[in-house]
């Protein structure tokens, strides 16, 4: 499966490494990511601080590593929510058809009309911009893709012989949906979700830019990177390192998606 699929290979390597780093964060950098050090404000990269320090003298590398935890969980959980909701609604719509289908798909159509960023912005601004709210809102505004995919797959699968046979054997709807339809439809959803993870991470950066992302002192890549705005011209490292971290990660996820597409398609 991995053979002749360099995208998947590179993507998985990047994300795999990243996961290891986040997992072992406390052992990699013993410093407290929130440790303020008045003597070390905005120090350029050195052996003690390979990525330099920020405006409060905190070690940038440590913050990026801990930020990875936050940003990756935003990506994964937001997409988890989107996929869960999408699978639920999509399979209901595809399986039951008629009114249920019309209702759910109309809702999806309505949601697709909104510039998602506007909706997220409004809601995040009105609620507390806590990590959980951000995850939930991104998730709840991106379920339409997975839902449509699942529905489409189920529509084409449900008339197939094996489903008919299963039905004839008296299997319950839930069993048919969960055991047969959803697993078969999962491939395209996986691709969609992988892309969605990177979209969610980027979204949080955008929200941070507007001051509505994860709030400090909790480090997220978004709020680490926006410090670059206020340190223009004096701290290139704050501009470069968090930006690169985001870039490489998003690249990783998109490569995985590309690789998966190749396998499925």
């Amino acid at each position: 499966m991995m053979k002749r699929n360099p995208y998947l290979k590179i993507g998985l390597t990047i994300i795999g490494l990243l996961m290891l780093i986040t997992l072992f964060a406390p052992w990699l950098r013993s410093a407290d990511p929130a440790q303020i050090d008045a003597a070390q404000l905005l120090m350029p990269p050195s052996s003690a601080h390979p990525f330099g320090t920020d405006q409060l003298g905190r070690d940038l590398l440590t913050r990026i590593i801990y930020g990875a935890r936050i940003s990756l969980s935003i990506g994964f959980i937001a997409m988890g929510i989107a996929v869960a909701v999408g699978i639920l609604l999509g399979s209901l719509a595809g399986f039951y058809g008629r009114l249920v289908d019309t209702l759910i798909m109309r809702c999806a159509d309505v949601m697709l009309c909104f510039p998602t960023f506007f909706l997220i912005l409004a809601v995040v601004a009105f609620l507390e911009p806590s990590i959980f709210n951000i995850m939930a809102i991104i998730g709840l505004t991106s379920w339409m893709g997975p839902a449509r995919l699942i529905r489409g797959e189920i529509l084409s699968l449900k008339e197939r012989e094996f489903i008919q046979a299963e039905r004839a054997l008296g299997a319950s709807d839930a069993r048919i949906i969960l055991r047969h339809l959803v697993p078969n439809a999962l491939g395209p959803v996986l691709v969609n979700a992988t892309l969605g993870i990177s979209a969610a991470i980027l979204l949080e950066t955008g929200l941070s830019f507007l001051g509505l992302g994860v709030q400090p002192p909790v480090p997220s890549w978004g709020n680490i990177l926006i410090e670059a705005k206020s340190t223009l011209g004096v701290a290139w490292w704050i501009m470069i390192f968090p930006g690169l971290a985001i870039l490489v990660t998003i690249l990783g996820f998109n490569f995985i998606a590309e690789g998966l597409k190749k396998i499925i398609g």
């Binding site: 929130a34 303020i36 008045a38 404000l41 905005l42 405006q55 409060l56 003298g57 601004a125 009105f126 609620l127 507390e128 911009p129 001051g211 509505l212 709030q215 400090p216 002192p217 670059a228 705005k229 206020s230 340190t231 223009l232 011209g233 004096v234």
Partner: protein
């Protein structure tokens, strides 16, 4: 000719020499020294502003961008001068009568609106009526509702009678005056005037491109004198980093700076050649307010202890890179109401621990946190999102309190939710916020014990009868010399009671292109003499006509 030469007698020679010196040499010397040179007209000043103005009707404007532009378009009856003294503006003079119940303003007679119509007392009356009109969405009605009657005995006299003596009233007449002849038949809330105003200030309105820029041009008929700088342009640049980048290409002449921009980012040869930086105390302070109904904070000793545990200098050093001063009370440092005998409490963690122990807080279970009656000393401070400085201050306080065994959690909330659901309803344990420091020192709404209802501003629930009395008495006295006794006492009592942990007064930092001359920093800032600023012809950057 002969006659002339007849004059030239030797006795007069020294005098002639003096005249010659005065006439020929002095101007050269003066020019070389750069003072008292005749100012050149022309050029424009381009200021960067984070937000656009919302309206150019000053009595409706509550945002700083609108107020700043309105400041050049309109005048009030009185104003604060460069030393923060109340002086006449549209009013030449005034008298306080009937033991402070009546103020009589005598207006200037040579003032015309931008459309050429004369300014009269009717305009003042009109503005007052609009301020107290319940249909008008003005946030400034409060002070004017105390007025019993406003009479106009003649075109240039306004006589205001109050229900009771109210000293802050005088400064409230700094409210810009609106032209009656233009607005008489308009609905102030919806009128087009808000976007094409007619004032009588040093600058006239030229154009407003929403969210892009507002352009004003100098008023040749301004009653002081026509400003030397032809155009004042406010560019809206919503992002601070963009403002900084614009400065780097000289796209802006004036902008506010962050401490980091002030100390490090503008510390380059480029900025030194083209710009001048200004550092002046801002008229705001930041504090940590306690909910005084909370069992932990009822005890004054606890509050004093916490005050000793936090190093305000450290906060200023880290958060404002040293650009600020420690705050001891709610008055402008150095102003007449400010009590400079109130000294900031020393940073003394040991003393703090001792005071807390006296108040019953000890670490009985040796877990590192103080406790009393089985409860650990742990509380949550809330602050609003979007204000990095407050959040960072909170982080530093958090660390210092941890050192004396007090746990402080930080919760950052969206502004409207923060105000509406937590502050107004007094649902908080502690809060980090800032107040502006108005030039008029009356602090009644914030400290008087009657002002604790939902949505009022004594949300910490402070109550001290002596402060209450002082606040009430001070309002009745117009003479600052007598009034200050009360405020200085209030200042002292507040610092002793510590309803707030007063943190710091940040400096207001700004940068101005150095081609502008005639800029004289004063306690009031730099903008007070803007009409006297000018740019030498050779250094002018913008032209008025093709």
């Amino acid at each position: 000719m002969t006659n002339y030469f007849a004059y030239l007698n030797l006795k007069r020679l020294p005098a002639l020499l003096v005249v010659f010196l005065l006439a020929v040499i002095l101007p050269i010397v003066r020019a070389a020294w750069g003072f008292a040179q005749e100012p050149d007209r022309g050029d424009a000043i381009v200021s960067g502003s984070i937000a656009d103005a919302s309206t150019l009707i000053p009595i409706l404007a509550s945002d700083s961008a609108s107020s700043e532009v309105c400041g050049l378009l309109y005048n009030g009856l009185v104003k604060y001068d460069k030393d923060l003294q109340l002086v006449g503006d549209l009013a030449e003079s005034w008298e306080i009568q009937d033991e402070g119940l009546t103020i009589v303003f005598h207006l200037r007679r040579n003032v015309v609106w931008h459309d050429g119509r004369p300014f009269t007392a009717r305009d003042v009356e009109f503005t007052y009526q609009k301020l107290i009109d319940p249909q008008v969405r003005t946030p400034y009605g409060g002070d004017f509702e105390r007025v019993k009657a406003l009479e106009v005995p003649d075109e240039f006299t306004v006589r205001v009678t109050y229900k009771e003596a109210f000293a802050p009233a005088l400064s409230s007449w700094g409210m810009p005056i609106l032209p009656r002849h233009v607005l008489e038949k308009e609905d102030l809330n919806t009128t087009r005037f808000a976007r094409q105003p007619i004032g009588l200030g040093p600058y006239r309105f030229k154009s407003w491109k929403t969210q892009e820029k507002i352009e004003l041009i100098s008023n040749p008929a301004y009653f002081e004198h026509q400003p030397f700088i032809d155009r004042a342009i406010y560019r809206v640049i919503p992002d601070v980093s963009t403002i900084f980048l614009e400065l780097q290409t000289q796209g802006l002449d004036s902008a506010g700076l962050t401490p980091l921009q002030f100390t490090r980012q503008t510390d380059t040869a480029f900025f030194k050649t083209h710009y001048r930086k200004f550092r002046l105390p801002s008229f705001t302070y930041v504090y940590l307010g306690y909910n005084l109904d909370h069992p932990f904070f009822r005890d004054k000793k606890v509050r004093q202890a916490l005050n000793h545990a936090v190093d305000k200098d450290e906060i200023i050093r880290i958060v404002h890179l040293g650009l600020g001063t420690v705050c001891t009370g709610p008055f402008i440092p150095g102003s007449w109401a400010y009590n400079d005998r109130v000294k900031p409490a020393a940073f003394a963690p040991a003393l703090a621990r001792q005071l807390l122990a006296e108040a019953g807080w000890r670490d009985t279970d040796a877990d590192g946190w103080l406790d009393k009656e089985g409860k650990p000393f742990s509380f949550t401070v809330i602050t609003n999102q979007g204000n990095e400085e407050r959040i960072r201050s909170a982080e530093i306080i958090q660390r210092r309190l941890k050192e004396i065994g007090v746990e402080m959690k930080i919760k950052v909330l969206e502004w409207s939710v923060f105000i509406h659901q937590f502050v107004n309803k007094r649902k908080f344990e502690a809060v980090i916020l800032g107040w502006s420091l108005p030039r008029e020192p009356d602090n009644f709404d914030i400290w008087h014990s009657s002002k604790t209802r939902e949505g009022e501003f004594n949300f910490v629930g402070y109550s001290n009868p002596e402060v209450d009395t002082a606040l009430v008495e001070a309002r009745k006295i117009f003479d600052p010399e007598k009034r200050k006794i009360y405020y200085q006492r209030v200042h002292q009592l507040l610092y002793e009671d510590q309803p707030y942990m007063f943190l710091y007064v940040p400096d207001s930092l700004s940068v101005l292109h150095n081609r502008f001359r005639g800029v004289k920093p004063a306690p009031a800032g730099i903008g007070y003499n803007f009409i006297d600023w000018w740019v030498e012809k050779s250094r002018q950057r913008y032209r008025l006509t093709p």
